[in-house]
Amino acid sequence: MKVTIIDDSKVMRAIVKRTLRQAGFNDVDVMEACDGEEGLQVIAESNPDLVLCDWNMPKMTGMELLERLRAEGNRVRFGFVTSEGSEEMRARAREAGAAFLIAKPFKPEDFRESIDKAMAA
């Protein structure tokens, strides 16, 4: 499985990568980007199976990135991994076409459950 992790925090990208492994996704090819703009480029180049994206980032937010992808016809499976987990944010994420929203702090089980569902859909 090819996964693109987009977060402006290098530390958080490392934590997301580690949590993927802890959740049992050992055979994952990970690409990284530090904001939405770079994310667009990485997604176009690597055609991932799944995008795990922060919401609140400089230059282009995760939501702006998702809207841009969908406007361009890109249907890649997309999940937010973000510090904001209110019901309103979850509803906005769903409406925009995200498969899930995992709120920080998270556990490996959160990744397992959300990613399994998204990949099966």
Partner: protein, 168 residues
């Protein structure tokens, strides 16, 4: 639209609960203490900050501490083993900002789940060498977080927007 100003006390209560979430979740701590203190520790000479905004008020949440505690907090966040070296300073700063970010998200969730119609916008976290001091018109509260040799003051600075202030 947010209908009334959220009091400093409500922000402080949400901050305390959120720090508990971060401590047990992201930092993996079982044994820690959070208490209310009257002022920042004089040892607090760096830290991570993040702004939260509603249409009626501005809040700055800070993790004011010292570099040694920053290193220990970043080790906990990164789940480093005892025999692994400390992360470089850039990653320590990044980790402290991320802890502030996660805490701010938890504060937003707590307040939004407790009150209807509250719209809170999060800013981006940043790290400072030094500390942010409250200016005139800004009320503040300090919570002291202590665990495993770490002392970190959680600074909640609150200012209702002057032209929109309403009774809480």
């Amino acid at each position: 639209m947010t209908s009334r100003v959220i009091s400093l006390e409500e922000w402080a209560v949400a901050t305390c609960g959120s720090m508990e979430d971060v401590a047990t979740g992201a930092l993996g701590l079982a044994d820690f203490k959070i208490s209310t203190v009257h002022q920042l520790s004089t040892d607090a000479d760096c830290g991570g900050y993040i702004p939260l905004l509603t249409d009626l008020e501005s809040v700055q949440i800070g993790l004011a501490t010292d570099l040694e505690s920053c290193r220990k907090l970043s080790r906990l966040l990164l789940v480093l083993d005892d025999d692994e070296p400390d992360p470089p300073l850039a990653e320590v700063r990044d980790a402290i900002g991320e802890i502030a970010n996660v805490m701010a998200g938890a504060i937003k969730t707590r307040i939004c789940n407790a009150r209807e119609g509250v719209d809170i916008q999060l800013g981006l976290p940043f790290f400072v060498h030094g500390r942010i001091a409250p200016v005139a018109g800004l009320a503040d509260a300090v919570l002291r977080f202590e665990a495993e040799g770490i002392t970190c003051d959680i600074h909640v600075m609150h200012r209702p927007h002057r032209d929109k202030r309403r009774a809480a």
